[in-house]
């Protein structure tokens, strides 16, 4: 199992940090971990993990391996691995996840759907092609 602290530790070497006074508009994509503390409108995608800070506002569909949400998200969220929703999170949109934790005080307005085992296996195969040979 992973603790919340462990998950946040992973973001120490984030490839991208969007600070609190920054506005991003458009389709923002990366390969490494992404931290959002400011405003983002459009779409947000990475092959790694996303951390959304408590002051952040994201008006976008989000897709990545793992996601931690503490701020406001207006859009659909798809975490192929874990999804951690903090007590200050406000989500207006549908959620798909592999594993989930929701803190007391979080607000979710949308459908919450667990990805099927078959789907998770397919995602894992895509991520680890070498293990299949």
């Amino acid at each position: 199992m992973f603790s919340k602290d462990n998950r946040q530790e992973k973001f120490k070497d984030a490839e991208t940090i969007i600070g609190g006074s920054i506005k991003v508009k458009g389709n923002f994509q990366g390969q490494g971990n992404i931290i959002i503390e400011g405003f983002l409108e459009g779409s947000l995608k990475t092959a790694s993990d996303i951390f959304i800070g408590d002051k952040a506002k994201v008006v976008a569909n989000i897709e990545s391996k793992g996601i931690i949400i503490n701020g406001e998200v207006r859009g659909n969220v798809r975490a192929k691995g874990y999804l951690a929703i903090g007590e200050t999170a406000k989500i207006y949109g549908d959620i798909q996840y592999g594993e989930i934790s929701i803190d007391k005080g979080a607000s979710i307005n949308g459908q919450v759907i667990m990805l099927s085992e078959e789907h998770k296996r397919a995602e894992k195969t895509k991520e680890e092609p070498d293990n299949q040979s």
Partner: protein, 245 residues
């Protein structure tokens, strides 16, 4: 053959002593060569290109950041660049202020620069491009009202602060790992609200109608300006204490 390109500001008498010391040291090390004084030359580009054409093995910028950028500007976009990349190394002997490029390459002072030239430790370095200006270290601009436009997205900031676009770190204390061999530029935005933004990119446009873009701490240019990077473009003689791997 070594060619030493002396910048025009070195004509001032206050630099006589240090220039004498450099020349004695270079002679002691067997590194003496031809001296090209920019103060007496109208067409700097042609003069530097000619030295490469007739077989200069090392072109050494004797001066500051601007001297290095003058040499790079003289060769990078011309036919001579092919010869330069194959046959010629770029060295630096820093004299006076504004020598962050030399510092990045681990060249801390004039005397050490002569020893570094002798050791000939060579690195291939990316070259940044801001409008028509090349840069080795960084370009910077005030952040308030600035927009950075990428292919798929844009980034705006309304807070006071500074945007730095880094090819080669000039400050050891900057809390990022910048790699001048990766074909990427690192972008850092620090505002007075003490928040920090960091990401990297190969190519974008920067716009701030009320501020100038400052290239390698010296040249000021207007925006909008296209920013890009040319991978492994210059062979430079570096010291072992350089600020990158």
């Amino acid at each position: 053959m070594h060619v030493y390109v002396y910048d025009d500001y070195l004509n001032k008498s206050k630099y006589n002593r240090i220039i004498n010391r450099v020349e004695i040291r270079l002679t002691d090390l067997g590194l003496n060569g031809k001296i090209l004084r920019l103060a007496g030359i109208k067409n700097i580009k042609a003069a530097i290109q000619n030295e490469i054409r007739i077989g200069a093995k090392t072109i050494v910028a004797v001066g500051n950041n601007q001297t290095v950028n003058k040499i790079i500007g003289a060769i990078i976009n011309d036919d001579i660049y092919g010869d330069f990349q194959k046959k010629t190394l770029l060295g630096i002997i820093p004299i006076g202020n504004d020598n962050s490029i030399a510092t990045s390459f681990g060249i801390k002072n004039t005397e050490e620069a002569c020893n570094i030239l002798l050791a000939r430790r060579v690195e291939k370095i990316d070259l940044g491009l801001a409008g028509k200006n090349y840069f080795l270290n960084e370009v910077s601009i005030q952040s308030q009202g600035a927009t950075l436009e990428f292919d798929d997205y844009s980034i705006e900031t309304m807070e006071k602060g500074e945007i730095k676009i880094i090819n080669l770190l000039k400050d050891k204390d900057e809390d990022i790992k910048s790699n001048p061999h990766d074909g990427m530029l690192d972008i850092i935005i620090k505002t007075k609200k003490k928040d920090r933004t960091y990401f990297n990119s190969k190519k974008f446009k920067i716009v701030n109608p009320s501020e100038k873009l400052i290239v390698d701490g010296i040249v000021e240019i207007d925006t909008p300006a296209e920013i890009g990077v040319l991978k492994d473009r210059v062979n430079i003689i570096v010291g072992k204490d350089r600020l990158f791997e």
